[in-house]
Symmetry: D2
Subunit: 251 residues, 4 copies
Amino acid sequence: MQHILDGNRRWVASKLAEDPDYFQKLAVGQKPRYLFIGCSDSRVPGSAITGTAPGEMFTHRNIANVVVNTDLNLLSVLQYAVEVLEVKIILVVGHYGCGGVAAAASNKQYGLIDNWLTNVRDVVRLHETELLRIADPKLRMRRLVELNVIEQVRNLAKTNIIQNAMRGANPPILHGLVYDLADGLLKDLEVDNSTFADLQHIYGTEAPEEEATAATPVAEASAPFIAEEDSSAYEGPKHDPVQGIPASLAE
Amino acid sequence: MQHILDGNRRWVASKLAEDPDYFQKLAVGQKPRYLFIGCSDSRVPGSAITGTAPGEMFTHRNIANVVVNTDLNLLSVLQYAVEVLEVKIILVVGHYGCGGVAAAASNKQYGLIDNWLTNVRDVVRLHETELLRIADPKLRMRRLVELNVIEQVRNLAKTNIIQNAMRGANPPILHGLVYDLADGLLKDLEVDNSTFADLQHIYGTEAPEEEATAATPVAEASAPFIAEEDSSAYEGPKHDPVQGIPASLAE
Amino acid sequence: MQHILDGNRRWVASKLAEDPDYFQKLAVGQKPRYLFIGCSDSRVPGSAITGTAPGEMFTHRNIANVVVNTDLNLLSVLQYAVEVLEVKIILVVGHYGCGGVAAAASNKQYGLIDNWLTNVRDVVRLHETELLRIADPKLRMRRLVELNVIEQVRNLAKTNIIQNAMRGANPPILHGLVYDLADGLLKDLEVDNSTFADLQHIYGTEAPEEEATAATPVAEASAPFIAEEDSSAYEGPKHDPVQGIPASLAE
Amino acid sequence: MQHILDGNRRWVASKLAEDPDYFQKLAVGQKPRYLFIGCSDSRVPGSAITGTAPGEMFTHRNIANVVVNTDLNLLSVLQYAVEVLEVKIILVVGHYGCGGVAAAASNKQYGLIDNWLTNVRDVVRLHETELLRIADPKLRMRRLVELNVIEQVRNLAKTNIIQNAMRGANPPILHGLVYDLADGLLKDLEVDNSTFADLQHIYGTEAPEEEATAATPVAEASAPFIAEEDSSAYEGPKHDPVQGIPASLAE
């Protein structure tokens, strides 16, 4: 522990040497431009590898930088970052040589974490064809790391938090990056809107008010996967609308 | 509330009329044969629709009978049912006309639950080709209900709880069923081991002890998706084994 | 499995004997009056023990009927039941002889479920003084089962779902009940609003719109635990309001 | 984004200037000594404020540095860090001026995150008497930040992961720290074993094997809160042991 406290003292001294008011300025409040979602791996400290200063990057780190759509830990970070702090850019950052991804590609059990790693195995399943085309196992693993990042960016885009923010005044931009332990460089996977557009007909949703507003044209991409009049009627007569239950949920 | 208490009194009276020792016998302990994972829908009470008596069926019910691999609520139910109670049969029971599945197939937002329903949208994504082949939207929705059940059974099979139990003395049997609100009948989807076998090379894992036992032949299906010697070395020289880190996790 | 299918057939036959249109009527839609949150224990099937019919009771069951405030499984059930289905009455139903509560009161490990049972141990901690006053261990355990139910009802009342519904046109009523395996009877713990009122100054929250409405007097009970002007300024000068960050979150 | 990539390039250049083999060495593997659990706040980057280098600190960051005992995200980080990486020291690091803690002490709703913040309100409830004794609201808030850290360290100690590691060959040491935005200094809250000892009779558990080993004396502190022979018999005669159900769970 003394190592930690000493390191802290050195860091404070170095900051004060640069700017005697450094901490007073920071204590005023945060207005980070970035949300960083990265791996817990000790070799991938987000602010160091991106050269960002304290105050610039709101951060969540977990094993294998996974975005689980029912994980209230990450969802709280995301909702707060997007809706309250209004971050401009969201980065999902994986890294080649990720132990979590490697464990998911292995057939070993490591205990409770196996449940978490299932999320990465789901990426393997979705992209098995592409992965199997890569004969070199090292390159195949690198591609899995990249595909894992791309799918986690997609998982962000599946949330109503992001979908609503995308229709707001300042839509955040989502990026997928991979950090290479071997040379320290970040590689932009160039995930862009087309990454989500091809799944929008499945995951795209509209907030209730938006539908009601004639001025807001409902994008074609957000058409329901199965039309409501059909979905609500398929196993019997329509229920009494007096009951006030939304038809698509009331069956 | 009086309605509930009255209903309870009537039920107690009817049970005592059948057997004056009914409750004393039940209070001795539970040894359920079944684990039932079903929908929260009020029209699908598990024990009623299966004609099972109190004591027969350990039960978890959530919206759209979803098995999320990082949901400690359901995982606790599953681990306790399989490892402590040693249930013999696990049933995932969906139902045609499921409001949760219909909501997931729509493009509407319903609030916090949207996050949960992403799990069903993931089923749509996995089986989009098959679903699009079904022109009739009512039939397409029915098929989605079935596919959702099948994928949730698969999600069970992805857990180390089930995988280890499958190699134990009394492997549980997994079933997927759909209940039809229109006629009250349960339909067996005939999910069997082949439902998991085709994904075993991705999700299959072995407990550490099992690997070490020469007497336990490691099934071919549990070979790693990417061989360890490759996964651990792909971005640089192998680390010093003195460090004692499992190679596949240490990168 | 045949046992399940046979039981289902018998049940369908008995229902059709009572009313040939039974299933057509039910398939029209659900409008349940109750949300039942109970234990997974096989001996506590919610609809049977309450004498309620299919269609009356939306249901969630987990180990030891626990309400975890970050559990998206239960929160989704709750939000859907309260906001979409507009249930009138919410029942948390524990039972004497609960294996989960007994396990939490023991010092044994059962695996992954230990994490879940920590929620019950937290109830022990909150009520240790009262529990220790009960010399008879059987009675002490019965009281723990009751206190667990009461705390889970409180956990419901902590959610913004319930807090907002309580200020709506049709506030749901929360009840805590214990089922006695030994005689089949449900006991009402008579949890009422005072159960929450004493914690309202800690957990009470207001939706943003409500605050703004002068017509909605903010109840005294919802005063902040620490006043905002103090909470936001304590470690430095107030940040620039131009940044548009809510003061209490921006520090 | 270019800002991020530029910052990354500058960082790589500075590292290579110090040591041309810097990245090759790091890529070999990680063997972090620390697990850092901190807040997502952009002003509290863990490795910077502790002056630790890449490779030293495995990291999880969420809103208000909360340890939820049913959060598979954090539990996976913890299990992997403790059991696979065998970290020596676990740090829970809060910070004065934490927006999450301030939000929890307010009576405002912020959306989905409200559910997460309930964890901090639970800390207020546990320590209300102490907090109310502090008249100055700024000091009261600072104390809440500290108490939140202490309770999160306790939440770690409640897990079977930590409890089992504590009985292992290399028990990890748990520390609670608070970072002060106003001066950059880390303060050690001097949480030590007595912090857990007073709750051990409630949360202490033993793995099954340990109990069986006569050589391992079961510490008095791990006696069950309610003795098993009482807990298992209180609502009826003991069940038939032939059924093979552990008595304390079988009721």
